[in-house]
Each structure stands twice: as structure tokens, then as C-alpha cells.
């Protein structure tokens, strides 16, 4: 086998072996159970990076088109339904590989320290390796069915990892909620795949994209695109299937970092980008994608304003940034979406791991109202989290600035094609400010101001061990440089050159024109505007929640917040809505649990009374009829004699009436 093919297969096989080995012998290894999985993931990372370098450098067999596809074996040979186990690596895959393998490896290393005291450690690493396998399979898939299998596997791993501490009732419920909500989206995805196969007879990406749209009518194309999009909505937690992501924070923090920030939730974005040739023909659906994305962004940002659990704030932040990515896809800026996916993976992973470090330091306290003033006590965590917060707020020259600004720029410029996109830009602009505000609110509540930590815990606050600090540092470094490295010059940086050939076709179909970047024109103005609103958000957060940098110092005015909320009616309403997560969980509960429960009760009544009643009724009828007929047998001869006499009489009468024969 070609060494490149072997490498690609190894990418899949190594994590899978890690899962199998750890699952089988992990318990016996005890505290050493982390060596095998982590070691295998490091090797996987190395192979992944080598593959990325090969693809981007145009090495054979990738060649000038920077892509290589092959199939291991024919997975389903069923007459007309042939599905090979196809894998492919192209530059889009390479971009994802960078994020998945790097963040995955760092999370594995981090988990050694984080899960050190947990007796179920071997299970954790086994699941993590299984997850890596599933995610890599999803990214490497070359046809819809393999991707769908990986899709489901990723959902399964998410369920297993969210409910890792399964003895906790809330964790079990959250895992179930995640899986069920995912499933709702998966139904749409499966229907879309079925529709594609019905229309084209093949599930291979290359063949489908080449044949699209073929003989299909407009509404059929839109239907397929919509169905596929519902899968993305479920997996990437967009409205209305967003309800599972905040509850998924019940899982351990490394899980939140890996799955719900850097990799799994990005699967939806990747899938839409991968199937962009299909979406390009359904521009109405793309507008819907943009609308859903940006609506989720502002919805999540508004809820993040009032959350008190540090991980919940980050979860809503993830929802919001995912919304940005879908908005980018919707306006046709596919490259910008992938770029933001990469940068977001790094700084959100950093933020989550950092929050895990904080939680570890204050002994599993997650409520920010009982934190504060930790800046001096855990300096490394503080510094790296500050880097992450600046990155997500979009302050240059950190990573978030480049990718977020590109999205907003694309939205603004797409507004000239369809004025609705101006609204997308406007909302995105607002959300940028909101993001800065709530991130620095988090920083203020956690690290600055006076300490509200429980005194017993306060004595034992200590910095995390190096196994946890090293990933934080590395991710911080990446957050600082990766935006510049990949995205400069704007709209013509390395990542754009890598991804341009992939999105060339869809962009041509959409008919969007590539205007060159005008630093001193529209683009420059937009860049300055977004930085300005980010700074405004940061300043507002500082005002209310205090700041304690070495060059700026401000006391918190938290009581002002409460006062505003109390007095201004609009603020009060917004505050209550935000705290209650805009009542979506209650709505779902009402619709599905209460009403659905009543429907189920009604059906159960029907089943018991009518269906079982009919069956039992037949049985009862038989028994009763038999009982009544049985009374003929009295055992008395005279009764039988009467029967004989009556029978004789009847026969004779009949004979006489009908005449002799």
C-alpha cells in the first residue's frame, strides 16, 4: 500500500486501537491507563501533521490539485447499491486535521492531570480515543454513508462523555438530551442522504457533486439542501436544536473543550462546507442558513450575559461563534467560515481548558459568584485565559480578529447582492460587542476584584500541574499567531490559497464576485468599526465588573447592574428572558414532555381499552358463549328425551310440509 494511504488509514486505526486496548485492559492498568491512549494520539498527531504538510505542499500523491482519494474496500456490495469505504484528503480536510489532531492531542495531555483522581480514568481515555477515531473518520470520509456513520459515532461518543459521571442524575439527563436532540437533526440528514441516493444512484462526494443538479427540479434541490442542513443544525447546536449544548457542560471540562468547542460541533460547519456544491444550487437555503446562524449568534450572546456558571458562559459563547460560522456559510464566505472554525477551535479550547484549570483550583466550584480575585493566585491560568478572551473579542493581532472580521466583511459585501445580508452584518456587528462584554464579565467575576471564594477553599488554591499548564500555554501561543499566520494578507492569506480551489465551483454557481481587499476602503472601515465595538464592550464590562491589569485598575460596580436591571423596564424584561434562556427549555418541555405525554397517555388508553379490549373481548365472548352452551348438558335423561321428542317433531313437520321425496 502506498505510504500515504497507509498513513491515512493509520490515522483511523491508531485511535481505534487505543480505544480497544484501553477498554480491555485499562482498568487493570490503573493510573498508568493513560499512557497508551495519549501516546497513540501523539503519534496520530504526528502523522496528521505530516499529511497536512504533504497535502499543502503538493507532494505526490496529492499532486497539484492537492487532493487524494482512495477506498479501502467495498463496504456494501449490494447489486445497484455499491458503497466503498472511501477516504479522501484535500486541503479542506487538512484544515480540519490541523484543528482536530492538535486540539485533540493537547486535550489528551491535559486530561492526564485533570482526571488524575478519577477512578473511571481508563473509561475516559477509551471514550476520548473512540471520539478521535469517529471525528477523524468524519473528516476523512469520501462518501455520505461513511460520513453518516461517523456522524452517529461522534454523537454516541458525545453521549458517553457527557454522561461520564453517570451516577449524577443531571449528567445522565444531559447526555440523553444531547443524544436525542442530535438524533432529531440526524433524521433530516438521513432523509437527505436517501434523497441524494434516489436522485443520483451514488453516494460518493465527487460523483454527486459532479452530477448535481442533474435532472432535479428547484424544489427538490432545496429540499435536499434543507434536509442536510437539519443534520448540521442538530450537530452544531443551532436554533432550534441548540438546547443540548449548555446542558452538555455536565461532562468533564476536557470533554467540553474537545467535543463541544473544537471538534464535534464543528462537524456541522464542515459538512455544509464539504457539500457546498449542493448548497450553491439552493441559494434560498443558504439565506436560511445565514439567518439561522446569525439568530443563534445573538440569542446565545444574550443568554451569556446573565449566566453564573463559568462553563455555561463558554458554552453559550460557543453557540454564538458557531452561529457566526453558519452566517458566513450562508452569505457565501465558505473560506471565512473554515478560517473561523480553525481559530475558534484553538481559542475556545484554550478558554475551556483554562476554565477547567480554574475549577480545579477552587475545588470543583463552577459558580462565578463564588470566585474572584484569582488573578494573583493562579497566574499562568489567568494569563492564558486573558489571551483567549482577547482573541475571542476580536482584538488585533490575535487570531479572532482576522477570522471574525473576515466574516463581517463578507456579510457586508454580500449585502450588495441581497440587502438582507446587511442585516446579517448589523447583527453580527452587535454580537461582536456583546461577545467582548460577556467574556470580560467572565474575566472580571473570576479573576479580578475581591475574592468571594469560600474561606476553606481559599487556603488551598494552587496553580495546576504542568501536565495541565503546558497545553494551555501552547494553545495560547497558537491563538496569538495562527490568525496572522493563516490569514494575512487579508483575504489572500495562506488559508485562502489552500481552500480556494475547493470553493471555486460553488462560488461560481452562486455568482458572487471576489472584490479585492481594500484596506483603505470598505474593508478598512469595517475592521476599525469591529475593533471599536469590541473595545466598547470590554470597557463596559470593566466598568461593571472591575479590572485588575497591571496598567489599568477599576473597582467593580456590580450594584449598578442590579440597579439598572431593577429600574429600567426593558432591561428587566431582557434580564429575565436571558436568565431563563428565553424560555426555550420550558417550551420544549411543554410541547414534548407535557403535551407529548398526554398524547402518549391517550394512545396508551386506546391500546389498553380498544385493542387489548377487543382481543380480551373475543376471549371473554368465547368463554361466556361456551358456558351458556354448556348448560345444555344437564345430565338429566328427561331433558335429553325432550330434545329427542322436539327434534322428532321438527323433522316430521318439516317432512310433511315439504312433501315426501
Amino acid at each position: 500500500m502506498d505510504p500515504t494511504d497507509l498513513a491515512i488509514v493509520l490515522l483511523l486505526v491508531l485511535p481505534l486501537d487505543g480505544f480497544t486496548l484501553t477498554a480491555l485492559v485499562g482498568r487493570r492498568l490503573g493510573s498508568r491507563s493513560s499512557w497508551i491512549p495519549v501516546g497513540l494520539i501523539v503519534v496520530t498527531w504526528a502523522i496528521g501533521m505530516w499529511l497536512v504538510w504533504s497535502v499543502l505542499g503538493g507532494q505526490p500523491p496529492f499532486g497539484p490539485e492537492h487532493a487524494h482519494r482512495f477506498s479501502i474496500y467495498t463496504w456494501i456490495p449490494a447489486g445497484t447499491f455499491q458503497v466503498p469505504f472511501g477516504l479522501a484528503v484535500d486541503t479542506l480536510t487538512a484544515a480540519l486535521l490541523i484543528v482536530v489532531t492538535t486540539v485533540g492531542m493537547l486535550v489528551h495531555v491535559y486530561s492526564i492531570g485533570y482526571m488524575a483522581d478519577d477512578p473511571g480514568k481508563w473509561r475516559f481515555f477509551a471514550y476520548l480515543n473512540l471520539f478521535m477515531f469517529s471525528m477523524l473518520l468524519l473528516v476523512l470520509a469520501e462518501n455520505f454513508l461513511v460520513m453518516f456513520v461517523a456522524w452517529e459515532l461522534v454523537g454516541l461518543c458525545s453521549y458517553l462523555l457527557i454522561g461520564f459521571w453517570y451516577t449524577r442524575h443531571s449528567a445522565a439527563l444531559a447526555a440523553k438530551k444531547a443524544f436525542v436532540t442530535n438524533r432529531v437533526g440526524d433524521v433530516g440528514f438521513a432523509l437527505g442522504i436517501a434523497a441524494i441516493w434516489t436522485a443520483f444512484g451514488t453516494l460518493d462526494f465527487g460523483q454527486v457533486f459532479a452530477a448535481f443538479p442533474g435532472q432535479l427540479e428547484g424544489w427538490q434541490v432545496t429540499a435536499i439542501a434543507l434536509l442536510i442542513f437539519t443534520g448540521a443544525v442538530g450537530k452544531s447546536a443551532q436554533f432550534p436544536l441548540h438546547v443540548w449544548l449548555p446542558d452538555a457542560m455536565e461532562g468533564p471540562t476536557p470533554v467540553s473543550a474537545l467535543i463541544h468547542a473544537a471538534t464535534m460541533v464543528n462537524a456541522g460547519v464542515y459538512m455544509v462546507a464539504r457539500t457546498s456544491p449542493i448548497f450553491a444550487h439552493a441559494s434560498g437555503t443558504l439565506s436560511l442558513v445565514a439567518g439561522v446562524g446569525i439568530f443563534t449568534a445573538i440569542l446565545a450572546a444574550s443568554i451569556a450575559f446573565t449566566q453564573t456558571d463559568i462553563k455555561r458562559v463558554l458554552a453559550y459563547s460557543t453557540l454564538s461563534q458557531l452561529g457566526y460560522m453558519f452566517a458566513a456559510l450562508g452569505v457565501g464566505a465558505f473560506t471565512a467560515a473554515i478560517f473561523h472554525l480553525v481559530t475558534h477551535g484553538f481559542f475556545k479550547g484554550l478558554l475551556f481548558l483554562g476554565s477547567g484549570s480554574v475549577i480545579h483550583a477552587v475545588h470543583d466550584e463552577q459558580d462565578m459568584r463564588r470566585m474572584g480575585g484569582l488573578a494573583r493566585k493562579i497566574p499562568w491560568t489567568y494569563a492564558t485565559m486573558l489571551v483567549g478572551a482577547l482573541a475571542i473579542a476580536g482584538i488585533p493581532p490575535l487570531a479572532g480578529f482576522f477570522s471574525k472580521d473576515e466574516i463581517l466583511g463578507a456579510a457586508f459585501k454580500a449585502g450588495s447582492d441581497a440587502s438582507g445580508f446587511y442585516l446579517v452584518w448589523a447583527i453580527g456587528f452587535l454580537v461582536a460587542g456583546m461577545t467582548a462584554f460577556y467574556m470580560f464579565r467572565l474575566m472580571g467575576l473570576t479573576f479580578w476584584g475581591e475574592s468571594r471564594v469560600d474561606p476553606h477553599v481559599a487556603e488551598h488554591i494552587h496553580e495546576t500541574p504542568w501536565s495541565m499548564r503546558l497545553p494551555l500555554v501552547m494553545l495560547a501561543a497558537a491563538s496569538i499567531v495562527i490568525g496572522f499566520a493563516l490569514g494575512y494578507p487579508p483575504e489572500n492569506g495562506p488559508i485562502h490559497q489552500w481552500l480556494a480551489p475547493i470553493f471555486e465551483g460553488p462560488l461560481a454557481v452562486l455568482g458572487s464576485h471576489e472584490a479585492s481587499y481594500q484596506f483603505f476602503g470598505v474593508d478598512g472601515a469595517l475592521a476599525i468599526a469591529s475593533v471599536a465595538i469590541a473595545l466598547l464592550g470590554i470597557y463596559a464590562a470593566w466598568r461593571f465588573f472591575g479590572v485588575d491589569l497591571w496598567f489599568v485598575r477599576m473597582a467593580p460596580h456590580r450594584e449598578r447592574v442590579a440597579e439598572i436591571v431593577r429600574t429600567v423596564p426593558a432591561a428587566a424584561v431582557l434580564y429575565r428572558a436571558s436568565v431563563n434562556k428565553w424560555w426555550f427549555d420550558d417550551l420544549n418541555n411543554l410541547l414534548f414532555v407535557v403535551i407529548g405525554g398526554r398524547v402518549a397517555d391517550g394512545l396508551r388508553w386506546f391500546d389498553i381499552q380498544v385493542i387489548d379490549g377487543a382481543v380480551n373481548g373475543v376471549a371473554a365472548l368465547t368463554v361466556r358463549t361456551g358456558g351458556r352452551i354448556g348448560r345444555i348438558q344437564t345430565g338429566r335423561v328427561q331433558n335429553y328425551a325432550l330434545g329427542i321428542a322436539l327434534g322428532l317433531v321438527a323433522m316430521a313437520v318439516g317432512y310433511l310440509v315439504t312433501g315426501p321425496r
Binding site: Q633, T634, G635, R636, V637, Q638, A641, L642, A645
Partner: protein, 151 residues
């Protein structure tokens, strides 16, 4: 004299229900004789009307039916046996009647009737003996309380 007066007068000497039954029965019989007469009798010229074969057979049939009713309706075992005797006698009457009116069968009918009589006697004997034996066990001659067969 109103009807109630007559009835009251009669009621002093006879049982009224029996009297009424007798009146009805005789009226019924009169009707039967009047209507059935031509069917069941023979005109014998100067001798007047003479009962024919049909008449005797009709009597036998009626007696048989009465026996059937008694057999099916009575609860006492011995009453059942008496009804059986009535039925056998009806059959005997029919046989003798055939013998009387069909010359070829005359003596044969008598022989058959004698045999039937003997068999009926034997059967009555054994039946009554059985009833007595059962009565010893169950202390009742009522057949519907002999319920060992109904399980």
C-alpha cells in the same frame, strides 16, 4: 239466574275447577267427534256409523301423546314409569286395531300384542325395582335429584 249464581250453586257440591275442566273437556270432545266423525268412521249401511281403523288409530295416537307428555314432564320416577305403561298400551291398541281391520294380520296381531304385554310387564318390574333401590340411597324418588350424571 246469573252465571255466578249457577256456579255458586254447583260449587256447593262439586269442586269448581274440576267441574269447569269437565265442561271444557266435553265440549272439546264434542267438537272432535263432530268434525272428526266422517274421517274416523265407516258407514255401514243399515248398521249406521261404525268406528273405522282411523278412529282406533287416532285414539292410540292420542294415548301415546299423553304418555309422552307424562314421561317428559313428571318429576317422580314412578310417574314416569306409569307414563311408559300408557305408551306401551297405546301401541298395543294400535296393533290390535290393525289386526282387526286387516284380515291377513288378525291372529298375528294378537300374538304380537301378547309378547309386547309380557315385555312391558318385565320392564315395569325391573324399572320399579331400580327405583326402589335408588330410593334407598337417595331417599327421594324425584329424578332431577339423581344428579350423578351431570358432572
Amino acid at each position: 239466574m246469573s252465571i255466578t249464581g249457577i256456579l255458586e250453586f254447583i260449587g256447593r257440591w262439586f269442586r269448581l275447577d274440576v267441574f269447569v275442566a269437565l265442561v271444557i273437556a266435553s265440549l272439546l270432545a264434542g267438537v272432535v267427534i263432530w268434525i272428526g266423525g266422517p274421517f274416523l268412521t265407516l258407514s255401514d249401511g243399515s248398521q249406521g256409523v261404525v268406528p273405522g281403523l282411523d278412529g282406533y288409530l287416532f285414539i292410540a295416537g292420542a294415548l301415546f301423546s299423553i304418555g309422552v307428555f307424562g314421561f317428559l314432564a313428571r318429576r317422580n320416577a314412578i310417574s314416569m314409569l306409569m307414563s311408559i305403561e300408557l305408551m306401551v298400551n297405546a301401541v298395543n291398541l294400535a296393533i290390535i286395531a290393525f289386526g282387526a281391520f286387516i284380515p291377513a294380520l288378525t291372529t298375528h296381531a294378537s300374538v304380537i300384542a301378547l309378547v309386547v304385554m309380557a315385555v312391558a310387564a318385565a320392564e315395569a318390574t325391573v324399572g320399579l325395582a331400580i327405583v326402589i333401590a335408588i330410593f334407598r340411597n337417595r331417599r327421594t324418588p324425584l329424578v332431577d335429584e339423581y344428579s350423578a350424571m351431570s358432572e
